[in-house]
Every structure is written in C-alpha cells, then in structure tokens.
C-alpha cells in the first residue's frame, strides 16, 4: 500500500493525488474526468539561477557557465542522435521542455499513447547521452535561440528590469546564457550538472488527465525502477550570492529597431515564504484588476486620452531566490505614461480601498478560478507551484476566498520609491 495524499477542491471539482516513491521521487496525479488528452511532466528543481554548487560526484564546489541548465535541457531531450521531440512525434505524441530560473521541465501530451509516452519520458531523462560532438552541434541552434530573444522587446524590457533590480542574484542573467558563456559548456560539465540535480529526491513527476491513479503510479514506478538509484546526498549544496536589499540601478534603457516602446516598472521585495509567494501572486492579480484593468477609472482615462492602447499588466514573481512585482505596458507616450503611473501609485497607496470594487473583482476572480478547471495547463502549473513553494495544491483558491481589503492595502505598500526600477525599450531613431 502506498502512502497517498488526496487534495480536493470543491470550487474546481478536481482532485490531486500525491505520493513519494521508494527512491524519493515525488509523483502527483491530477484527475481530469472526460478529457481525452493526458499530460505527463518530469521536472527537476534546478534552473538557471543555480550556477555554483557542490558536485555530487567529487564533493567539490564548482562554478559552471551561465545558461548550462538550459543547454542541459536541450541535450537531455535527445537520444543518440535523435531529438526527443522527434521520438515523441514519431509516436504521434507532442512534447516539449522548458527551463526557468528554478525549474527544468520535460513534458508530453497524448490521447492514446499514454503508457509508451511515460516510458519514453523516463527513458530520456534517465539515459543522458552527451558527447563532445553532439554538444558542439547544439551550439548553433541555441545560439539562434539566444539571437531570437535578443530581438524580442518584451523579453528585453523584462530582463533589463531584473538586471536593474538585482545586483548579484543570477536571476539577472538570461536563462539561456549568452553566445560567449555557452561557448564554455562541455559534455563533462553537462554530466556534472545532470548527476547533481537530476536525482529522484530533487525531481517530480506530474500527470494530468483522465487516468486510473493506482495503475498510473505502478506504470511510473515500473519505468523508474528499471534504473539503479543514483548517488544522492541529503541536501544539494547550492551557493546563491547574498543579494543586498538595495536595487542595482534606478533606470535602464535600451534602443531596438521596433515601433512600439515598452515600459516596465519593477519593485524589488524581500524574500518571503512559499505561502506568501502564492498570496502575492493572487494579490497581484486582484490589485491589477482593481487598479489597472479596463474596469479601473485609471486605465479608462489613460485609454481615452490616447496614452495607452494595450493593457497595463501587474504581476508578482517569487521563488526561494527572488521576489518582485512588475508593471508592464507598451506605449508611444512612454514618458507621460511613466509619470502618470507613478503619480497614481502614490495616490492609491494612501486612499481607502473601494470595498464595492473589491467584491466585484473577487467575484470575477472566483469565476476565473472555476473556469481554469477547463485547462489542463493550469492544473499542472498549480502543482508545480505547490512543489516549489511547498504549499497545498489548491492554496491559491483558499487564499482568494479569504482575501480582505486590508490585504490589498498591504500589497500596495510594497510599491515604494526606494525599491523601484524603471526599464524602457525605445525605438532607434
């Protein structure tokens, strides 16, 4: 008998089952009755910010080139010359992978090749195959991926804001690294990162779909058990440079060959607990809706006066390693819009919260939460959040229901001048 945890959300009418296999791998199954499509995700709590750690093989501290977690993602999703996307595609299954600051995730989506897909996913992750030659071949492809982001103004305005906020934290470095940093990546270094961070204790397996829970657990375990348990340590030793409270620079500006300027106002916050990360995410959503969305007087005025055409987005991002709020918009009147937003923020911080608006927005967000049950993607993202932040799976739903106007007030108080940065992308003349 397995020791299984079941979490149920009444609002979503959805259940998530979780357990830990004997080798330490955490498995989560979110049951979605009626859906044809099933998703499987195999991930590790390892991303671009972890560049300095103790090599599990040698026990020695090592610093690795920027962008290596992402490079590893590319190379691991490959099997003896064949790209994993291709191997899945040959079965009629779609697959992909992504690397972020604190996680790397590999996944597939299928209606009828579920068992084979689970087997393939485990095989790919458990059988790394890095050679000097195949690592070299990938450099050109990743180089083009980096170049693509170099021309993307949304991406630039965001990363520049991070660079302005953080002085030392590796979150200020592009996830894929640069053409220069990736030139130092070798197959030996990839093995070091793989051996250290792709151990069962540091990984998670997620299934979302209409599956039989017990059979699926058996299936995963059976595939995992084909491989011997790798060398592991209780706690992987990671060194993230201590980040000062202060921002790195107040303003950052870059010119690109674009039409529409981009503005991002960032606020660096102190690190907080997993629960508070989730709470801040919900709050950013509600505050954004109340004060910056199409139902706010502010946005309507900005729109009517022709200053802004698209939306003004507010989002919170947090992890074990960073915590910040970002307000982003695009506008051809960038200086005026910046001034208006900053003035407005000072105003709403001292004003009382409009209780009626708060209730209307809360109603909308509860509706959106129920609507989210129609999406398999939201289901897995919620589970990954709960894994990384060590919270209950449906904690966001509970937080939303308990939210009070006082929480709004406290959230707004984070928007201070001394932790604020301004990032702009302007067109070249």
């Amino acid at each position: 008998m397995r020791n299984m945890t079941v979490e149920y959300s009444k609002e979503l009418d959805e259940s998530t089952f979780s357990t830990k296999l004997s080798n330490g791998l955490s498995v989560y199954i979110c049951k979605k009755p009626g859906f044809n499509k099933k998703m499987g995700l195999f991930g590790t709590k390892y991303g671009s910010v972890i560049n300095d750690f103790v090599d599990i093989e040698t026990g020695k501290r090592i610093q690795v080139p920027d962008g290596i977690a992402h490079y590893l993602e590319h190379k691991l999703f490959e099997k003896e010359g064949a790209n994993a996307l291709d191997l899945f595609s040959q079965m009629g299954v779609s697959s992909n992978a992504y690397t972020s600051f604190d996680q790397t995730v590999y996944y597939f989506e299928t209606a009828d090749k579920f068992d084979e897909s689970v087997a393939m996913l485990v095989k790919l992750i458990k059988e790394p195959y890095f050679t000097a030659e195949n690592v070299e071949k990938e450099r050109g492809i990743i180089g083009q991926e980096i170049s693509m982001y170099d021309d993307n103004p949304n991406f630039k305005v965001y990363f520049n804001a991070l660079r302005a906020m953080y002085q030392k934290n590796p979150v200020r470095i592009d996830i894929a690294g640069t053409i220069e940093t990736i030139s130092h990546i070798t197959h030996e270094l990839l093995y070091t990162c793989y051996n250290t961070f792709y151990s069962p204790q540091n990984m998670f397996f997620i299934i979302v779909g209409d599956v039989d829970v017990d059979k699926t657990l058996d299936l995963i375990e059976e595939n995992i058990n084909k491989y011997p348990n790798p060398k592991t340590s209780e706690e992987i030793q990671k060194y993230i440079p201590e980040e000062p409270k202060e921002i790195a620079q107040k303003e950052i500006e870059e010119k690109m060959d674009i039409f529409l300027p981009q503005l991002c106002i960032g606020y660096k916050l102190p690190l907080c607990s997993g629960y508070d990360i989730q709470k801040n995410e919900v709050l950013a959503d509600v505050v954004g809706e109340m004060y910056f969305s199409k139902q706010s007087d502010f946005f309507v005025n900005m729109y009517n006066s022709g200053k802004v055409n698209s939306s003004i987005d507010l989002q919170y991002e947090g992890s074990k390693y960073f915590s910040h709020i970002m307000l982003t918009t695009t506008t051809t009147n960038i200086d005026e819009v910046q001034k208006d937003i900053l003035k407005y923020i000072n105003k709403i911080k001292v004003e009382n919260v409009d209780n009626e608006l708060f209730e209307i927005v809360k109603r909308k967000k509860i509706g959106e939460t129920i609507l989210s049950a129609d999406s398999l993607n939201i289901a897995y993202r919620r589970i990954i959040d709960s894994i990384l932040y060590d919270t209950d799976t449906y904690v966001d739903v509970e937080i939303l229901e308990k939210l009070t106007p006082q929480d709004i007030k406290e959230f707004l108080n984070n928007l201070k001048e001394d932790n604020q940065v301004i990032s702009k992308i302007l067109p070249k003349e």
């Binding site: 009626g34 790209n83 009629g92 909308k364 609507l371």
Partner: protein, 415 residues
C-alpha cells in the same frame, strides 16, 4: 437560424461563438471592419463604455466577451465570442445564460451612436496594431509573405487594414460597415456541457432570430482558391532592412490547381515536410545543419499557399533557402519513408483530438469545414480519411507546390 451545438460534459463553462461572414471585397472592407470591431468591443447603447462592460462581465463571474476578425480563404469572419460558467459550478447554482444572451444581444444589435472622438480614438488603436506587427520579426516575415503572394487580391490586406484608409474612415463608413456585417450570413456555435441546457437553441432563436435577415448559407458563399495559383509567377526576392541580431526569412509559393481532394493530403504532406519535430525542415535545417532554432511551414489551404519561415544568421541565408528547397524536391520525388508518412498521419490525428479539448477550436473546426468542404465533416470522417492517405497522394500534392518568393528581414546590416 443556423445554430450548432457541441456537447462535451467535461467542460465547466459554456462558450458561444456568434459569426458573421462576408465575401472579401477590398482594403476598405478590412480597414472599416477592423475599426468597427474595435469600437463595438468598447461600448453599446446600454453599456456605453469600457468600464460598464467590464463591470457587467465581472458580475457574471468573470464571463469573457470579445470580437475577433479573421480570414477564411476569400471569406471574412466577424465573430462575437462569450464564455461563461455553467450553473452547476456556481454558488447556489446561479444561472447566467439569460443575462449573457441579453448582454450579447446588446453588444451586437444595439450599438451606440459613436462620437467623432470615439472614432478617432479607435483609429489610433488600430493604427498601433498595424504598426507594431514589425516588432515580432518571425510572425511578421510570415505575414509579409502572405501579402506578397496575394498582392493583387483582397486577401493580401493585413487583417487590421490599411493605414491610410483607417485614417480617412468616417462615421458613415462605419455605419455602412455595420449594416453590411449584421446583414450577412450568421452561424452560431454553442459548446460545453449542455445537459440541463436542452432548450438553449430555442432560447437563442427567440432572442436573436428576428434580427437575422440573411438566409444565405455559409457553404453557398463564393470561395475560389484556384485563381491566384493558376497564374504564372516570376521568382521574386524582397527584403526589409531592420537593425536586428537575427534575420527572419520566409519562403512562399502556390499550390497549383489545388482541389478539395488535396486538402487532407496537404496536411499530411506538411507533417512530413514542415510542421512536426520529425519533419524534414526541422531535421535537416535545424538538427543536422544547426542553422536555426525556429523553422516551420504552414499551408493556407483555403488560398492554396505555402509559407516557410525561419530565424537564421544572415550569412546563412543562401544555404538555408537552398536546403529548404531541397526538402521540397525530396518530397516531390517521394524521398520519404513509410514511417515518416505514418508518423505524420498519427500526428494529424493527435492534433484533431486536441481540437476537441478546446471549445473554441471545436467551434472553428465546424465553421472552417463548412467553408472548405461545403458540408459538415465530423472528427471521425476526417480521421478515417487521414488513415487512407497514401504515398502517391503525398507525391501528387507535393508536385503542385512551387516556391516563387523569398523575403528577408534584417539581412542587409548583419550579413
């Protein structure tokens, strides 16, 4: 009224898609309708501004409402969309349907008297949409190729119209565009868990039928995808200088003498040639030659066009173009394995099943089939037809394809 239901018990919300369809005419039609869509999305007589609309939607538990415009071959689609929660999942089983339909009715059939200021404001909105598309280099390279290939046809106009015409649009132009849209063919789709909503067609009919005057059927509207691809075309290269790191290229061509029998084989062709990770473009241009990260081919089946786009280093331009062309030649000669064919069929069937996981895609699947095949096509019918596609079918459609145009953004500065 033409109302179709897509019943699927797994969904917790109900989606309504209210479609108007008109034959494409000219640049003016695109420009005025883009403006019309923008202004109708911002207000109606009883919801005079953005705030009142958004407030109402919040009260409907975050129901969504928008207007979408799109091209389906030579037909222009003007679509009102709403999504709202099924009463089974709401506190106290609160029913939203009547309010949602009333709201939708207001937005479609009870427009406000637009002021000149409001019209001028929405012109700015559309002009920004037209101008900002150059900021997304790869999508832009692909769109520009559509325009180049269809430069003598209404289809070659960008979906948000033409800058000059948008600027010159008058209130009269908008009113005419509105009358033209609401007087056109109507197709309504409702998707979701409709158990307990058995009368939904009747309810919609009672509310909307009196307004629907056009009785022409979607399948009877004129579409002709053989006109441009039966002409002779001279091979042409275009470029647009941009100061960027990566160059975006597109390669375009016509599918000569395309017929309705070619449509499904073309989808399977493209699975082998240019759209799956097993395809020739991905395998040879990306994986083997390491020339790009992004490369993909799309078939515009209702216009009989093919477009390949990729992000490359400008110095590899010639090499990439010739590699892409080699892959097409291989397809024409039948240089692909039975495994590749089977894999493409499996992928196409998997994508077909994906369509059913989305209310929006399910509705548009029904809609576009009516245009392409002039009749209903079920998921099962298409799946069966895919399974019967042979190597000969693929070679036959491949030999109808000819690349005639190249386009590169940013090739000058960073070559």
């Amino acid at each position: 009224m033409n109302i179709e239901k897509i019943i699927d018990e797994k969904f917790k919300s109900i989606y309504i898609s209210y479609n108007f369809t008109i034959p494409m005419k000219n640049k003016e039609m695109f420009s005025y309708n883009a403006l019309l869509g923008a202004i109708m999305q911002k207000g109606a007589k009883n919801y005079p501004n953005l705030k009142s609309i958004e407030n109402k939607l919040s009260m409907l538990y975050g129901a969504t409402y928008d207007i979408n415009v799109d091209k389906y071959g030579d037909l222009y689609n003007f679509q009102f969309r709403m999504n709202f929660i099924n009463r089974k999942f709401l506190p106290d089983n609160e029913e939203l349907l009547d309010e949602v339909l009333d709201f939708l009715y207001e937005m479609i059939y009870n427009p406000k008297d637009w002021t000149d200021d409001e019209i001028e404001r929405e012109k700015e909105f559309i002009l920004e949409k037209i101008n900002e598309r150059r900021d997304e280099k790869l999508a832009y390279a692909s769109q520009k190729m559509e325009e180049i290939l269809c430069k003598d046809e209404p289809y070659g106009t960008y979906i948000f119209g033409d800058e000059k015409i948008v600027k010159s649009a008058t209130k009269e132009d908008l009113k005419n565009a509105y009358e033209n849209i609401i007087g056109s063919t109507v197709n309504v789709y409702v998707a979701g868990n409709l158990n307990g909503y058995e009368d939904i067609e009747k309810t919609i009919e009672e509310k909307f039928a009196s307004k629907v005057t056009n009785t022409q059927k979607l399948e009877d509207l004129p579409t002709d995808n053989t006109k441009i691809n039966s002409k002779e075309h001279i091979y042409t290269k275009d470029s647009e200088p941009q100061d960027i790191v990566q160059s975006a290229i597109s390669l375009g061509g016509y599918i000569k003498g395309i017929t309705v029998e070619d449509l499904l084989p073309l989808a399977i062709f493209n699975g082998i040639f240019g759209v799956t990770p097993s395809c020739k473009l991905f395998q040879n241009v990306r994986e083997k030659a390491s020339l790009c990260y992004t490369i993909s081919a799309k078939i515009l089946k209702l216009k009989g066009l093919i477009i390949v786009y990729a992000g490359i280093n400008a110095q590899n331009y010639e090499k990439a173009v010739s590699l892409i062309k080699e892959q097409l030649e291989d397809m024409k000669k039948g240089n692909f394995t039975d495994e590749e064919l089977q894999c493409s069929i499996d992928s196409a069937i998997a994508s077909l099943r994906d369509v059913r996981e989305s209310k929006y895609l399910s509705c548009m699947f029904k809609y576009s089939n009516k245009i392409a095949y002039k009749k209903d096509m079920s998921f099962e019918e298409i799946e069966e037809a895919y399974k019967k596609i042979t190597r000969e079918d693929i070679i036959r459609v491949a030999n109808k394809i000819e690349f005639t145009n190249e386009f590169i953004i940013g090739g000058v500065q960073n070559a």
